[in-house]
């Protein structure tokens, strides 16, 4: 039931798979509560109505941007939104979309054919390249717990407490076997932002870095360790870049 004091929330989607929206919709037991405290202005995966470009309290932005029209729309959303929250790997660092490499025009022609000749587009960019982002919810897709805690805290007037620490720390706290040290598997846990409860390494799958890198990540040393796992230089670069990581040699110490 909407009340006069309910907050207006808009979910805005740029280029993405909509997996981030799906994660929120998967929080079935919390959707009633969410509907009680917010008024949805737009939520593409729920309704095709929406994006009325009205002022909202919170805009959740999913996806990366690659056209001038998208940037126009993002700027308008920023103007109309009290708070703007970037959600998911694509919005935070370009995500999988940013893997596209090579000269833009030939890339487009390769996928869309000759019709793309007049299109105006640029390589996929994260949201923070164009507007101020008030809060980030990382992940591909984001964790349900983090989505709910972030929304809950923001809707009630605060930021959720969180730790900017690597997946390694969560993995050790959970007493998982170390895939990097014990099995020489190419795990990106040492430089990847935690918050996923190390769910991939816990299942024996080396971390792929979907949540982006921690502040002051020591890429040089991880690069050296990944070489010891038997990966080639090119394989390592691909692995580190998969979710928008900066290639080796540009470490931000």
């Amino acid at each position: 039931m909407r009340t006069t004091s309910s907050l207006k929330l808009s979910w805005v989607r740029f280029t993405s798979c909509s997996g981030c929206q799906l994660m929120l919709l998967n929080c079935e037991t919390s959707l009633n509560e969410l509907a009680r405290i917010v008024e949805l202005d737009a939520f593409p995966l729920v309704s095709s109505a929406g994006d009325r470009s009205e002022p909202v309290d919170i805009a959740l932005v999913e996806g990366s941007l690659s056209t001038p029209e998208e940037v126009e729309r993002l700027l308008a959303i920023r103007r109309h939104s009290r708070l703007l929250v970037a959600v998911g790997a694509c919005a935070l660092n370009g995500g999988i979309n940013a893997l596209v490499k090579g000269e833009r025009r030939s890339c487009l022609a390769g996928i869309y054919g000759e019709q793309s000749a007049g299109w105006d587009s640029f390589p996929p960019q994260p949201v923070h390249h164009f507007v101020r982002v008030d809060w980030q919810i990382p992940g591909c897709p984001p964790e349900r717990r983090e989505l709910l805690e972030s929304l809950g805290s923001i809707l009630h007037g605060g930021w959720p407490g969180r730790q900017l620490m690597p997946v390694c720390m969560e993995c050790r706290c959970n007493e998982n076997r170390c895939l990097l040290v014990e099995d020489h598997a190419p795990c990106l846990g040492p430089i990847t932002l935690a918050g996923c409860n190390a769910s991939c390494p816990a299942r024996g799958v080396p971390c792929e870095g979907c949540r982006g890198v921690v502040p002051e990540a020591n890429r040089d040393e991880l690069y050296r360790l990944l070489l010891e796992t038997g990966l080639s230089v090119q394989e390592i670069q691909h692995r580190l870049e998969r979710f928008g990581g900066t290639p080796h040699g540009q470490a931000d110490r």
């Binding site: 690597p166 720390m169 040492p190 040393e221 110490r253």
Partner: protein, 321 residues
């Protein structure tokens, strides 16, 4: 401390069973268990499956005293609730070095209510261990906490609670005896003096080692005496609030940051030096107390093979006169 004596009783097999049965009445047994992944963890023990020896588990009893991430309190509408009480756990198969570490944590958290609530519920039972290649324990380092020490044919009472259990099981006549510390590594531990440490700020060893440090935090997560924590508040959609306490780590970029943007330890070298100071010299009332119990866990888990003992040796070479 080297000659600390504890009441020791002979321990025939029937008395072992009696003792364990007596403990099981009031406590749930936890002990070292190895999974298919060959990682030893402290876990609830299947009934009747007692460890033969102490084991250097991945995490120590620290995880029961200061859980990795646990609620302190929650607030809902108009009511405020303290987190639920811990249930009684008897941890069996604890190595002596880990019992020293609990003594150290007891000093640090002497006035911390959530810690003390959990500590009261814990019965700690030490056992003899086989020292591994990484072990550097020392009986002279610090006293130890615990309630019982169960050896091959004798049992020691380390606390009044332990003594009470042994009297209940009619273990015979006590003799004051030292604990059977493992032979071997004793005395080979690294130490640094206050003077050496203070004059080491510009030593190249900090820079060299920190080049390799990933800041992954593994060393202090597995350290039995590392206790840094962060307080994290979050609200649910319905407005209920929970405050959690979660392990923090001095290698993380935000650990030394304070309001106003100042960072007490802006680089990895500063953080490595800080951790060394904390381990080997301590802070506050515990300044001067080396808190590295020599279990070797940090060396074993470091992806970059950073070793505090090696750093200490290098410091003596580089800075020592």
């Amino acid at each position: 401390m080297i000659d600390a004596l504890f009441p020791s009783y002979p321990l025939p097999q029937d008395v072992v069973d009696d003792l364990l049965d007596t403990i099981r009445r009031d406590w749930t047994f936890w002990g070292p268990c190895s999974g298919e992944d060959e990682v030893w963890r402290l876990q609830p023990l299947p009934e009747g499956l007692w460890p033969a020896n102490a084991v250097t588990t991945f995490l120590t009893v620290k995880k029961l005293l200061l859980p990795q991430r646990a609620a302190l309190w929650s607030h809902d509408q108009n009511s405020y609730r303290k987190a639920g009480a811990a249930s009684p756990v008897a941890v069996i198969g604890v190595p002596l070095c880990d019992l020293q570490a609990v003594w150290y944590l007891d000093q640090v958290f002497a006035e911390d209510e959530p810690y003390l609530d959990r500590r009261k519920q814990l019965l700690l039972i030490g056992m003899p261990c086989e020292p591994g290649a990484e072990c550097r324990c020392s009986r002279q380092l610090m006293p130890l906490a615990g309630d019982l020490f169960v050896g091959a044919d004798r049992v020691w009472a380390l606390s009044r609670a332990g003594q009470g259990l042994l009297l209940e099981c009619a273990c015979g006549v006590a003799e004051e005896m030292p604990l059977p510390w493992p032979e071997g590594p004793d005395g080979q531990r690294s130490q640094i003096s206050e003077d050496l440490f203070l004059s080491s700020a510009a030593a190249s060893i900090w820079f060299d080692e920190s080049q390799r440090c990933l800041s992954c935090g593994a060393c202090s997560a597995v350290c039995p005496t590392c206790y840094c924590f962060d307080l994290l508040d979050s609200a649910a959609l319905d407005g209920s609030v929970v405050r959690r306490r979660a392990w923090d780590n001095c290698f993380f970029a935000e650990h030394g940051k304070v309001a106003g943007g100042h960072d007490f330890r802006p680089g990895r070298a500063d953080r490595l030096r800080f951790r060394m100071e904390h381990k080997l010299l301590g802070f506050g009332d515990l300044r001067g107390q080396n808190s590295c119990v020599g279990c070797g866990r940090c060396r074993g888990v470091c992806p970059a093979e950073i070793d505090l003992d090696r750093i200490a040796e290098q410091l003596h070479l580089e800075v020592g006169s």
